[in-house]
């Protein structure tokens, strides 16, 4: 499984790329493989306030709906409309074109509660 070095990870299988006070959020390669064919994605609305550990978005595979938990708190400043039109991007490019939303971090200290790539790799068993 691909676990990029430049990201932090939530135990619930979301990743975040931090650039200044902005974080880009998506689901991991491991998560998309577990979910299988993703056929629906609903990123949060711009302006919505999200809280660390709370539901921010929903993705659905053919078989089940899954909540996406925000790894950090803050305000949503962008949503990836491309994944609404083509949810399979979450399967084919989970760390790139399959990003879900961008958030302005309200509490950067929350990042320390997330896992580094080594710890996430250990969690998913390699």
């Amino acid at each position: 499984m691909n676990v990029p070095e430049n990201l932090r990870y939530a135990e619930s299988h979301e990743w975040i790329l931090v650039e200044g006070d902005t974080g880009t959020v998506g689901i991991t390669d491991h998560a998309q493989a577990e979910l299988t064919d993703i056929v629906f994605a609903e990123p949060p609305a711009v302006g919505k306030s999200v809280k660390a550990g709370e539901v921010a978005a929903v993705v659905e595979s053919v078989k089940a709906a899954s909540d996406i938990y925000s790894p950090v708190s803050g305000e949503v400043i962008a949503r990836n409309e491309a994944v609404e039109g083509n949810p399979a991007l979450l399967n084919t490019d989970p760390f790139g074109a399959g990003w879900i939303y961008k958030v302005r971090l309200s509490d950067p200290a929350e990042l320390s509660a997330l896992k580094d790539p080594a710890a996430y790799k250990a969690q998913i068993g390699g």
Partner: protein, 352 residues
């Protein structure tokens, strides 16, 4: 519980889930891929969890006709049909396939979750001149489905697949019948449990893609084939479920007949309808609310994103007066309503 093919599923990359007590593959290569394989090519499903009952004796047909809705006595040897086992209120205990193996010998294939209940119900009503055997554990079964299933049939058995549905072929050990649950042509091969692994390998070698319960569900729902426990229940009659075609009222009597006759006379209050979502929506799932304006009409009994149609599809019991094709309703997903309309069954018709 596990079928004799459990290890074969793991070897084929099957993702195992619980299905009424059975560890079954929900998918191997992906539900969408498997669904397409069956619509366009050929796939194989392990249906070994289903039950096999053997009914024999000089009064076998007569006895089955007293318990089931369809008319077993009219089956020719080598023919099969769909039938229903009802309670005295006319509700559905189970739906099943009845195969006439010989003049006085029938095979019944029943739902996995209902094996014990069906067997107990039938045994408690046994009459002299009939032998009933629940031999579910002795048999495995494979469903080979798709436009290219006839190629697989020929490779396996060296003869052409019967063009007609519901035909039993004699293949030595086991039974092969041109039946299925996908809307595609195909056959089901009921084999002694000990031969399951070999049968599975042969079917894969003949070109069939392993397919799981996920694709089985989307395929059958596109065809509006009901799933017992979801779309059928002891509280709904086959008239409500749209299965009146499989009820022979000309028979002198069968369990549930009086209730069905009464329901026919007083009017069927609700009907199992096929629904198609007419705007972009999340996949529809069972137990989503159905609304007409502010009025909650009921809930979906089955639901999915149709891989063939690319939209949400479902089935639900709606009041009779709101059950006609074209009727507009809304399906609620996470507090938001999406427009849908009642559709003629089946939801999916193959372009010929």
């Amino acid at each position: 519980m596990r079928t004799p093919l459990y290890d074969a599923h793991l070897a084929a990359g099957g993702r195992m889930v619980d299905f009424s007590g059975w560890e079954m593959p929900v998918q191997y290569s992906g539900i969408l891929h498997e669904h397409r394989a069956v619509r366009e090519n050929v796939g194989v499903f392990d249906i070994s969890h289903m039950g096999e009952f053997f009914v024999s004796g000089p009064r076998a047909a007569e006895w089955l006709d007293s318990l089931l809705t369809n008319h077993a006595a009219l089956l020719a040897v080598g023919q099969a049909h769909y039938s229903l086992l009802l309670n005295t209120r006319g509700g559905v205990i189970d739906d099943l396939i009845v195969y006439r193996l010989d003049h006085d010998e029938f095979l019944l294939v029943v739902n996995a979750a209902k094996i014990e209940e069906d067997a107990a119900w039938m045994k408690s009503r046994l009459i002299e001149g009939v032998t009933f055997e629940n031999r579910s554990a002795e048999f495995a079964a494979l469903a080979v489905q798709g436009p290219r299933s006839s190629d697989v049939f020929e490779k396996l058995f060296g003869s052409p697949m019967p063009a007609e549905r519901n035909r039993v072929s004699d293949v030595g050990e086991g039974f092969v019948v041109t039946t299925g649950y996908t809307g595609e042509k195909g056959f089901e091969w009921i084999v002694p449990a000990g031969g399951a692994g070999e049968a599975w390998s042969k079917v894969l070698a003949a070109g069939a893609l392993p397919c799981g319960l996920g694709a089985r569900d989307t395929l059958r729902l596109e065809m509006c084939y009901p799933l017992n426990g979801s779309d059928l229940s002891p509280d709904h009659s086959p008239l409500e479920s749209g299965l009146g075609f499989f009820v022979d009222f000309s028979k002198p009597d069968f369990v549930g007949k009086a209730a069905l006759v009464a329901q026919k006379a007083s009017g069927v209050p609700r009907r199992l309808c096929a629904l198609k979502v007419t705007e972009k929506s999340p996949p529809i799932r069972p137990h989503y609310g159905i609304f007409a304006g502010d009025i909650r009409l009921g809930e979906t009994t089955s639901g999915a994103l149709s891989p063939s149609l690319g939209c949400g599809i479902a089935m639900a019991y709606l009041p009779n007066e709101l059950s006609r094709p074209g009727q507009e309703v809304a399906i609620e997903v996470r507090g938001k309503q999406f427009r849908a309309c009642v559709h003629k069954k089946p939801l999916y018709l193959k372009a010929l």
